[in-house]
Amino acid sequence: MCLRNNLITLVYGMVADPQLSLDLPSDTPFSPLVETYSQIRLKREDNRLFLVLPIQRELEQELSWTQLWQELKHYLQGREKSWATGDSVSLIAQDQLLDVQQLQTIAEILEEVDLVLETVVTTRRQTAVAAATGGYCVEQNKLSQLSLTPDVRTQEATLAEPLYFNQTVRSGVELRHEGTIIIFGDINPGGMAISAGDIFVWGRLRGMAHAGAKGNRQSRIVTLQMDFTQLRIADSVARYPKFLPKSAEPEIAFISEEGISLAKAMDFAKTHEFSELKAVWLDRQ
């Protein structure tokens, strides 16, 4: 993956302010930035509630069971409750290998948020057998019917509903969502939010945020206080310049002609517009 030449620019006020630029050291290791990630998500289709697990073979690293249940817990408990108590859920287990015990654990995690595991949809025979043993309804190999094929999922990216996360993203937590993420809390150092759309942090951004993770350069990151270790928008990366004092005001990060830039969040909508042609935000002046 080729990274753009990375600068961080400050855009304050109408006049061209002194621009601080900072090149990234070349030895910074990067994982591919624009990825088609698969992740855990809850979605409604035809009035059925689906809990979709990541597809193991599409993941770069194997997702261990421990990681899976931890992510599942975080995902469900951080979510705004958009379902009724006792709603039944179909688990789209994809190609994940799950035994009876593990299915039971998933059922318990769902129970904690008042959901009932009813059906298991899987492409693996062993998982189907385990599900049947555990007393769940089983659907094998019916993935195509669920319109969850890769192309459709990419299109969905822009359509995914915003994710409200009602707590601080603590160290070690990676919050991923195929739409805009709204965090009511901080992102702590070591914590990460990755969104295909915009990211709003109603608190301090001290960890990492990656907006437009599927390549949308129009994506923005807004926070009450910028104090990040690293910011990414689409395929651009920026670090917080060491010599830059923290602003007391909410700020917005976006891609300008100079790379990732920061500006006062307050005025941004009035002062900037996105140029489809150049694929950057331009000052209206």
């Binding site: 421990t66 931890q70 975080h74 160290s171 070690g172 937590v173 702590n188 001290r206």
Partner: protein, 265 residues
């Protein structure tokens, strides 16, 4: 109702075992019945810090295997009435125990003791899950260092996901002089980041190390010193008493630095 409390941190060497032993002794001093549960299988040393090493006969594993009764395995502290230790096995690995096993033991202990305090191993793997499985509350121990605080943050997240929401913070090994010189995070910095209630601040003090080497918790031996008082205060706060925090900064004061502070320096 007895309280099952896990002492945990994520990072190793920040003072979990030191806190567990002193807190156990401190609670026993205020006439509580306390069972300390060493969950650091393979790397146990709670018995060492308590000076009970040579009296260990059975371990938690023997209890689980049915080789002895729970009461037989408990090592009583002769210096303090009401304080007992259930040692971890030294020779076998962590995989020998499951979260359910730990729950069984802690629940059984809860019938006879006011406090069950679990000394958690470092890390967030199975040993951690074992240690937290029975706990209803947690004490997070951290030092004012970036790496320790970050691990503490991670552990708080995991505890919350496990449904343990009663979490308090102990900041250990604070060096007032370094904080004053801006070379160390202050307790406020740590609190601001972790956002859980503070229950104790313990200064970095060589008397803690001396006590460790003697196998005698500070609150039993050299009990009239600042770090020993800090441990006693944590016990009192657990008991619901409102104890003001000792101003470590003033301990470190000489007239000059006090003047500086008064004049806004």
């Amino acid at each position: 109702m007895s309280r099952i409390i896990v002492v945990t941190s994520g990072k190793g060497g920040v003072g979990k075992t030191t806190v567990t032993s002193n807190l156990g002794a401190a609670l026993a001093k205020v006439n509580r019945k306390v069972a300390l549960l060493d969950a650091d299988f393979g790397l146990r040393n709670l018995d060492l810090l308590l000076g009970l090493e040579e009296r260990v006969v059975y371990t938690a594993l023997d209890v689980l295997a049915g080789d002895c009764r729970l009461a037989q395995a408990l090592v009583k502290d002769k210096r303090l009435n009401g304080l007992v230790l259930l040692p971890a096995a030294q020779n076998r690995n962590k995989e020998a125990v499951s979260p359910d096993d730990m729950k069984k033991i802690a629940t059984a202990l809860a019938k006879g003791y006011d406090y069950i305090i679990v000394d958690c191993p470092a890390g967030i793997e199975l040993g951690f899950r074992n240690a937290i499985s029975a706990a209803k509350e947690a004490l997070i121990v951290t030092t004012p260092e970036i790496a320790a605080v970050r691990d503490a943050d991670r552990v708080i997240g995991l505890l919350e996901a496990e449904g343990i929401h009663k979490i308090s913070l102990i900041v250990n090994r604070v060096k007032p002089k370094m904080v004053e010189d801006n070379k160390m995070m202050s307790v406020d910095d740590v609190l601001e980041l972790l956002a859980v209630p503070l229950i104790g601040v313990i200064p970095d003090d060589e008397r803690v190390i001396v006590a460790t080497n003697k196998g005698e918790p500070l609150v039993i031996g050299d009990h009239d010193c600042l770090p020993a008082n800090s441990f006693m205060n944590i016990a009192k706060r657990l008991e619901g008493e409102k104890v003001p925090f000792i101003d470590l900064m003033s301990e470190n004061d000489n007239i000059l630095s006090r003047l500086r502070r008064i004049f806004g320096g």
